[in-house]
Amino acid sequence: MLERSHIQSTGFRNVGPEGARTGFEVRIRQANYRSSRLSLIEGVDIMVDGVLYPAEDNLFRLGDKGYTRDELNEATQTRLYVGDYFTVVVPKEGGLERGVHLVGSAIHYRHPYFPPEFQPAIVRSERHATIILP
């Protein structure tokens, strides 16, 4: 089972070769009460220590498959289930330093049954999480 917080401790790590990191990634559990067609997720912003990494630059990964925002919109038949998680891959040359960071996420969900003025609904979360390997 997953941690209660949307952002998970496990899965917060740098990516790319050691010494030449290309970015970092964050694991987030499905924060909606029902499974979401990926086409209903309009992207995920990430914040680390006050720096915003906007959704349009990030890659959404479910299992082994990565999706840009346009590719999410096309994925009408792929679902993010409750009890499952996705990963947001954030490009950042050099990655993040070893240690505890304040990490935030903002998932842009489109709920068709919400009034149009509340689409997308932005679900925010924030917690401390630790990078072990720089």
């Binding site: 209660r4 924060a31 909606n32 499974s35 096309e74 679902r79 409750v82 919400f114 509340f118």
Partner: protein, 305 residues
């Protein structure tokens, strides 16, 4: 004297399910309330929806038998604004409902609740609802299922949305379409802890969601003939069995007076700390059973006087 039937929607356990609660745990909690019915959310409770593994289906029926529960309502969605730049067609909407009718039937349910996308602040459903449902009336009839859109805050009973559903029933003469009442429409005091995934932006822009629309319980009489199932929405019941938002002391006598004998399926939507929902649901069952018994006792005395 005839009685309500008691059930629980697994929506109540949102956020617990998948972090601190399994489906087997949920069955145990529901059964221990004395309920006879279990309501699920297809996309949440059914792994690999819409095509659960056959081993899971076998286990589903084994659990129903073990815990002596019957499947009641299968909640589902018609995601009309399926892509950022495109809405579903009537054909796609109809296919979605057909898929959910078949899966609900396979799992033994009696009702499905499709939640349609909306086009305005009054929650007017996307116009494809009517054609999508009408194309499925024969299938629903064959499968002995009733399709129930919900009447949900901020839409009250006396409203064009409800009127359109009633007109549809009258025009088609169908027995396979009705209304589900969500008791959130009777909320008459503000909510302090919303568990419905509401965001800060929505709190600022839609106070009716938080303050309640206070639909008069007397309006139930207008539509009760079309209501075979009720979602017993609530947000907070304290240790004195006092509900802070939903006026059960008015709702229960009205439903009794109108002869309602369908399900009251708990839908807890309050504080989402781990395991809080388990106790909140139990309090609601204690409260409603108490009010029902009080009504029955008072009316037996009246009848005997």
């Amino acid at each position: 004297m005839s009685s309500f039937r008691y059930g629980v929607s697994l929506y109540s356990y949102t956020d617990d399910f998948g972090t601190v609660m399994t489906l087997a745990d949920a069955f145990d909690h529901v059964a221990d309330t004395g309920s006879t019915g279990i309501e699920i959310l297809g996309e949440t409770s059914v792994p690999l929806y819409p095509e659960p593994p056959s081993a899971w289906i076998d286990d589903w029926f084994a659990k129903l038998e073990r815990y002596k529960l019957e499947p009641t309502n299968f909640a589902c969605w018609v995601d009309t604004r399926i892509q950022i730049d495109r809405n579903m067609s009537v054909e796609e909407g109809a296919a979605q409902i057909a898929q959910d009718l078949c899966l609900a039937h396979k799992l033994g349910f009696r009702f499905i609740r499709p939640k349609f996308g909306v086009i305005d602040h009054d929650l007017t459903p996307d116009p494809i609802w009517e054609g999508s449902v009408e194309r499925n009336l024969d299938l629903a009839n064959q499968l002995d299922l009733v399709i129930l859109p919900e009447i949900h805050s901020p839409t009250p009973i006396r409203h064009p949305v409800t009127d359109a559903y009633v007109k549809f029933i009258e025009r088609t003469g169908t027995k396979n379409f009705g209304l589900m009442i969500d008791t959130g429409i009777f909320q008459d005091r503000p909510i302090d802890h919303w568990g419905g995934g509401i965001t800060d932006e929505i709190k600022k822009g839609a106070m009716s969601f938080l303050n309640g629309i206070n639909t008069p319980v007397e309006h139930l009489e207008d539509v009760i003939q079309y209501v075979p199932f009720i979602q017993a929405k609530f947000h907070c019941i304290d240790e004195n069995l006092h509900d802070h938002q939903i006026p059960w002391e008015r709702i229960v006598p009205m439903l009794k007076k109108l002869g309602y004998t369908g399900y009251l399926s708990s839908e807890y939507e309050g504080k989402r700390d781990p395991w809080v929902a388990i106790e909140q649901v139990r309090r609601q069952h204690a409260l409603i059973r108490k009010l029902e018994e009080e009504y029955d006792a008072a009316n037996t005395e009246t009848a005997n006087a």
